[in-house]
Amino acid sequence: MAKTINLILNVWRQKGAQDKGRFEVYKADGIDTDMSFLEMLDVVNERLMKEGKEPIAFDHDCREGICGACGAVVNGRPHGPMAKTTLCQLHMRRFKDNDTVTIEPWRARGFPIVKDLVVDRSAFDRIMASGGFISVKTGSAPEANAVPVRRRDAETAMDAAACIGCGACVAACPNASAMLFVGAKVSHFGLLPQGRVEAKERVRGMVARMDAEGFGNCSNHYECEAACPKGISVSTIARMNREYLSSQEMIWTKES
């Protein structure tokens, strides 16, 4: 049944983008092991507020692992120690009494820190605006069953489309690369017949934007896949690499 544990937290506190930031140590005593990690932070924050101190800022919303808002690097791992688990779905029964827990924000040039554990992930939106769509206007769609889609392709597209845009892939990558995020999107659309029409423009546009946002390059470490709460495969990166090459108008393929 319910058990309680005591923890020591090392939490990154940073007032704003300009602040240098530092680690602060907090005691989190009497934490129920049935709590989620974010509920544990709620409890710590309530106590801080009672003391008149500023609570730890962290992004979160749905708390069921789908909105992609939450995320922090816990003991060196984005979203904590469990595979395929967002921070909100991580439960305190995964920790032991008297554990020290280090909590840091995503760190990447493409994700500037806003405050404490909150980072600015708007780069992902800009990447999406550079090709992450199928340009069908409302009302112009054909009958839904007009184009059959191989079940396997639909399923693989769904695997890629499961991305929640949390940014853990960037946080985990030693190069702070966003290739898994972009690869997932390129794969999702590219696998469906509806998405083939704009496939070349899409991959060129999204990769160009990704590069411009200051993310690093892919070195095939596959840390992203291991950190992804939705288990998105690095084969999506492979697919994007292939699509990117074939999207290029090389000197010898250029039409006169």
């Binding site: 500023e54 979160h60 919303d61 069921e64 688990t85 409302t138 999702h188 509806q194």
Partner: protein, 638 residues
């Protein structure tokens, strides 16, 4: 009190929307870009509306308080989206979808709206497939369907257990497409704090940037609210933590009527509460009821583990009481029956506030692999939260607030009583009556955004000279100052209690008195207590930090303050409606068998409340519900 006119087009039900579209006013394509439209909220309704309006050529500004429009709470919808495609050839039709929705809503919704919803449902599926939504498919490559509560046909389209996510990402991609083209501007991390009304027309909003705390004024020719529901008034609900009533409540305070606030939906299949610290409730998709059987032990206080309870000692109460629909009865019935079993002392689990949802038989019949393919992500989620392996033990479930059918009153054009203010998706009251059927929220959000509002907004804009709204108007300055002052006030109370403490207190009160079942004395008690909590809030609140930076406690405080005002209206509405209908169950109004008893003679109307100023009673306006096509009947799922 006045009678509201919903401006429903004349003619036979089946022709209303078609002929309305034929006659509706249009805005000249060259003029569209001169009209600015503000869309608040970027969930299914907001994102689809904003993208579609931008495609048409309007100058659109979209606002969301999340860091990205993709995170709106529509993303969490699991089960599916209904449409009358009749792909399985099981006899579905637009009329049947319409009828099921009207009946599911316990005959408290507008016929014309619901019929239109069913009519455009098929177009939504076409649109989403074209956008690249990876719906489940059969081996043939064609779309797959499953069945859902409240229907006897399979009409639900789904993308694993993440249908809402996939539909929202579809709408979001359309939104980003327009943002990339520059036809639409997105304001993320920006929360609407007030509606600006000039000469009786909605002409803009006041918004606060959550990063800098700066309030800003935005003028527009029309304002569209797509800000979702208010189930978080209960504190514990399946809604996202930040979902709130602020936008529609502030619009209400500026003159928009609030309709049927007491219609709240309690979802039957959620993971039970396990501790005081609990921050939200997690829903398990209702689709589990397709293959799961709901039961409790026959005898009170039977504390044996579920596997030790023999078949003869189990009570499959839904199957017993409703043999026709069994475990697939509408949500309100499923929820209420679970509560009744628990109230009788037959509840299970450590708190006694849970019933079993058992997939054991289906696992035996269909095999683990089939069940795994259908529900694996749900099982995984359940195990992660509770530590229980559902392949071995039945799940425990309990109802939780999930959706709110009430919302701002709108006419057939989805325009509120304030000209220029449109309300779409869960934020309006229009289509679900007193209870929403599963897989209909996604349908309604996208119907409003893709296929209804883009037409009907033109009917209003066409008669407005473009670009008339101007932030220089003193109304903007006033509203902006008021919003900034209110934020400042929250910071200055400097009391002892946190916003969440007040929210929890309010939530508990409402869950007890205005939750799954309601009684006159309880509602009256709540009506007395809420102002006391509110008063306490403004005396003893503590919000650390400043208003010039990201301050999440401050955001929460502002939302709780609005919930504290809104809750009173909700209770008042529940008190006035002395009948049981759908999600609104009045203990005084039931049949001899204990089932909900509607009072069509006295309550067959939409209750739209008008704000009359702080401390003054709101005024009730009625929109009578005329049923020309369907026959008012007692819902019977037996």
């Amino acid at each position: 009190m006045e009678t509201l006119n919903a401006k429903i087009p004349a003619g036979p039900l089946k022709d209303k929307w078609i002929s309305h579209k034929d006659k509706i006013k249009l805005v000249n394509p060259a003029n569209k870009r001169k009209y600015r439209v503000i869309v608040v909220g970027t969930g299914l309704a907001g994102a689809s509306a904003a993208a579609s309006l931008a495609e048409l050529g309007y100058n659109v500004e979209a606002f969301c308080f999340q860091d990205s429009p993709r995170r709106a709470h529509s993303i969490a919808a699991q089960g599916g989206i209904n449409a009358a495609k009749n792909y399985p050839n099981d006899g579905d039709s637009v009329y049947r979808l319409f009828y099921d929705t009207i009946k599911g809503g316990d005959f408290r919704s507008r016929e014309a709206n619901v019929y239109r919803l069913a009519e455009v449902s098929n177009g939504i599926i076409d649109q989403c497939v074209a956008q690249g939504v990876p719906f489940a498919r059969e081996y043939s490559g064609y779309l797959d369907n499953r069945s859902f509560g409240g229907a006897q046909v399979s009409r639900t389209f789904y993308a694993r257990g993440q249908t809402g996510q996939q539909l929202l990402l579809g709408a979001y991609s359309a939104l980003m497409k327009e943002a990339g083209k520059g036809t639409l501007k997105i304001h993320p991390r920006t929360e609407m704090l007030d509606l600006v009304v000039v000469d009786g027309k909605a002409t803009g909003i006041i918004a606060r940037c959550l990063l800098t705390g700066k309030t800003s004024a935005h003028a527009a020719d029309a304002v569209v609210l797509a800000t979702g529901g208010y189930a978080n008034v209960f504190y514990l609900s399946t809604n996202a933590k930040a979902s709130n009533v602020t936008a529609i409540w502030r619009a209400h305070k500026k003159g928009a009527f609030f309709a049927n606030p007491c219609y709240t939906q309690i979802h039957p299949t959620c993971i039970p509460v396990h501790g005081d610290y609990q921050s939200k409730l997690t829903l398990m998709s209702e689709s589990l009821r397709n293959d799961g059987r709901v039961w409790v032990p026959k005898n009170k206080g039977d504390s044996r583990p579920p596997s030790a309870v023999p078949e003869s000692d189990r009570d499959y109460f839904l199957e017993r009481k409703y043999p026709g629909f069994g475990n697939l009865v509408p949500r309100d019935l499923a929820s209420r029956n679970a509560k009744e079993q628990c109230d009788e002392g037959k509840g299970v689990g450590p708190t006694g506030q849970a019933v079993y949802l058992d997939l054991g038989e289906s696992i035996g019949r269909l095999g683990r692999d089939v069940i795994r393919e259908r529900y694996d992500n749900l099982f995984e989620m359940y195990e992660r939260i509770t530590g229980v392996d559902t392949y071995k033990e039945p799940m425990m479930i309990y109802p939780a607030p999930h959706y709110t059918m009430g919302g701002l009153w709108v006419d057939y054009n989805l325009m509120s009583n304030l000209p220029g203010l449109f309300v779409v998706g869960e934020a309006n009251f229009s289509d679900h009556g007193a209870n929403r059927l599963g897989a209909s929220a996604l349908m309604q959000g996208l119907a409003d955004g893709y296929f209804i509002l883009p037409y009907t907004i033109g009917d209003y804009l066409a008669i407005q000279p473009p670009g008339k709204a101007d932030t220089e108007h003193p109304a903007f300055a006033q509203a902006r100052e008021a919003a900034a002052r209110r934020t400042g006030d929250l910071l200055q109370i400097n009391g002892k209690r946190t916003p969440d403490e007040f929210h929890r207190e309010l939530g508990r009160l409402l869950w007890d008195k205005c939750g799954m079942s309601r009684r006159e004395d309880g509602l009256k008690e709540a009506l007395k207590k809420i102002p006391a909590v509110r008063e306490e809030f403004w005396k003893d609140l503590r919000v650390p930090g400043s208003g010039e930076e990201l301050n999440q406690a401050l955001e929460r405080a502002g939302r709780v303050a609005d919930f504290l005002e809104f809750a009173e209206l909700m209770v008042r509405d529940a008190l006035h409606r002395r009948e049981s209908c759908g999600g609104h169950f009045r203990e005084e109004s039931r049949t001899s068998e204990g089932e909900a008893l509607r009072d069509d003679e006295n309550f067959s109307y939409v209750a739209a409340w008008e704000f009359k100023g702080a401390g003054r009673d709101p005024v009730l306006h009625k929109e009578p519900l005329a049923f020309e096509e369907v026959h008012l009947a007692t819902r019977n799922y037996k």
